[in-house]
Amino acid sequence: MSELPVETPDTAPTTTQDGTHGWQPVPSRGAWLAALGGVMLGIPLAVGAAFISQASGWMSPWLTAPAALLIGAVLGAWVSVRRHLRTRWKLDDSGFAVRRGNWWQSETHVPISRVQHLDLKRGPLERGLGLATLVVHTAGTRQATVNVQALDAADAERLRDRLARQLDVDDAL
């Protein structure tokens, strides 16, 4: 195809933040959403702590459960925000790629010809912040879906259009 892979926003000064070209960060305003998701980690921790302290009788569950809730929420939010801020995506001639993670790092690559269908999801909170989640489906099994949360809504739509254009050219199935 002759077109440019994606119209890189000229106004984005953060494109080369991590030193390699082509990798785009997700907007930092989505970090709030990530934090909100991460806070939920406190709930299972609180339940577990309450259960253990009840069973062992070592400390009152009324003391341990809120403590675990607080610690879990802070920890979850911190990890999620860091994870979110490190998420990078890239679209070029070879395909779409997502990089994420700090401790457990991964880079997933989906060739454009392997894209089966695309979802663009926008929850109420994401809409409020002008964000969207892009889900790329392949026919694979273990990595059948690749999703990027809290993309800039305009970027997400451009990505979807670019990836979907190939579907018309290639009859994949």
Partner: protein
């Protein structure tokens, strides 16, 4: 050809049999346990009769409402009475054609036809039942119309001469049974089922009674402990022999007359003693390949060759009909030759395997290293100091990990990417580069500490039962190089299903 056709006139009988199979347990329960309490209760006695009557009516209705039409590009199926459905299945989308003939089908000279496409949960169409000639004609038609370049219009060409790639004589089928654990699995499953289904702890009481009787008999004989051990060993040996015999029997039922043939770039597998199965799949629809070699198989100098197809089949609803095995048992040379024949550009087996780096061996031990002490701690509570014996597993898992690492490796060729591993149960897994769907490079904290990475390759149709296609613990630069090369190659090649 645009004439609507019906199923075989006897098809209602087979629909009924199918439905009865689903309801057989509740029906038996109704007859056995329902009517027992009160012999005068008319409804309890009539219940099963009414249920069967309703099923008969439903089956007949299904026969009268199910019609299919063979069009130029596809099959149109109309079905249903109150809830009607119309389904168009293009021939080009059909990945697998399965023809299934149980003993009853063979008696009536009919067959069940199943058409499967990629993805989804259920087959596209299950035609229960067609006359054998109609089923063969339909299969032949799909075989020809489904090809990329449609043949010139006109009559359906005759079935092309097929070329047998592998046929299993009786001795091989017996070897297959000896090498498989099916008998043990079946016995265990039957035991578990009986435990659950039989009411009021009947099984538990039976087991208690017989074991008590056996012990009573043994103590009556006043054996020494040596003869007790001997007797236990003898019983164990007897159980082993019996389960192996059951395995052989099952292998005979499932794989008797196994024949893999090729015609027009399409592979067909026929097998079965009582129930005959015939499945065919286009060669290019094969997504990934697995060679396996268990311990007994290695003693017998045999391997098995399995394939993944993108055909829909749920793991929990798998009745073993899909075409998954190309060679249930064959010599290593025969397996390799088969792969070379079906993948002419693959140069299988790879001339050089890249071994797993020796420094990575201990990482295979990591699960054992952590889990064994945990197991010992957990056993400490019921058994006390005896739990220390569990620590003997430590060197054992270490040895297994080391052996495993010695046999692990990968080969990333131009056309094929292959990984191998295992020690007792060895496996080789490979896929054409064209069939890869996604790539993932992952690094754990340990990876970052040691400067390594793991490359995961995703293919379609992988049901998670075979080892994953992943290159583990590569040096980061190597992993990155392979990742970039594959990404580049995939961008230039179109997906060919």
């Amino acid at each position: 050809m645009a004439v609507e056709q019906r199923l075989h006139p006897w098809s209602w009988l087979f629909v009924l049999v199918q439905q009865l199979k689903q309801f057989i347990l509740p029906l038996i329960a109704l007859v056995v346990f329902g009517g027992r309490g009160d012999p005068d209760n008319l409804w309890a006695n009539l219940g099963p009769v009414i249920a069967v009557g309703v099923l008969v009516v439903l089956s007949v209705v299904q026969y009268f409402t199910y019609r299919y039409r063979i069009g130029r590009d596809g099959l149109t199926i109309r079905s249903g009475w109150l809830h009607r459905s119309l389904r168009e299945i293009p021939f080009a989308r059909i990945h697998n054609v399965g023809i299934h003939q149980s003993l009853l089908h063979r008696l009536f000279q009919v067959a069940e036809v199943r058409l499967e496409s990629a993805g989804g949960q259920k087959p596209e169409a299950e035609m229960r039942v067609l006359s054998l000639s109609a089923a063969n004609a339909l299969e032949n038609l799909i075989r020809h119309r489904g090809q990329a370049a449609p043949a010139a219009s006109g009559d359906i060409p005759a079935m092309p001469a097929s070329n047998t790639l592998l046929a299993l004589p009786l001795a091989e089928v017996i070897r297959l049974g000896l090498a498989s654990n099916r008998g043990m699995v079946v016995v265990a499953a039957a035991f578990g089922l009986a435990w659950q289904v039989l009411p009021d702890k009947m099984m538990a009481r039976l087991v208690q009674r017989y074991s008590r009787e056996a012990f009573g008999y043994a103590s009556h004989l006043e054996w020494s402990w040596q003869s007790g051990v001997l007797a236990a060993l003898a019983i164990l040996a007897l159980v082993l022999v019996l389960t192996r015999l059951l395995s052989v029997l099952l292998a005979l039922v499932q794989f008797h007359g196994f024949r893999l043939s090729e015609a027009d770039r399409r592979l067909t597998v026929e097998r079965g003693l009582l129930t005959r199965l015939r499945n065919s799949v286009s060669r290019r629809r094969i997504q990934a390949w697995t060679l396996r070699e268990g311990v007994v198989q290695r003693w017998l100098k045999r391997r098995s060759l399995h394939i993944d197809t993108a055909v829909a089949s749920r793991v929990d609803h798998d009745d073993g009909r899909a075409l998954k095995v190309l060679a249930p048992i064959a010599t290593p040379e025969a397996c390799d030759a088969l792969v070379r024949h079906l993948l002419p550009h693959s140069a299988w087996p790879p001339s050089q395997w890249q071994p797993m780096p020796a420094q990575a061996a201990w990482r295979l031990w990591l699960p054992g290293l952590i889990l064994v002490p945990l197991l010992a701690i957990a056993l400490w509570f019921p058994f006390g100091a005896w739990a220390g014996l569990a620590l003997l597993l430590w060197p054992l898992t270490g040895w297994a990990a080391w052996q495993n690492a010695r046999h692990s490796g990968y080969a990333a060729g131009e056309e094929l990417i292959a990984v191998r591993g295992g020690w007792w149960w060895r496996w080789w897994r490979f896929a054409e580069i064209d069939k890869l769907q996604a790539l993932r490079l992952s690094r754990t904290p340990v990876d970052r500490w040691l400067g390594t990475a793991t490359l995961w390759l995703d293919t379609a149709g992988d049901r998670g039962l075979s080892p994953p296609l992943r290159l583990r613990f590569l040096h980061e630069a190597d992993a990155q190089a392979i990742y970039l090369r594959l990404a580049d190659a995939l961008a230039r090649r179109r997906l060919r299903w």
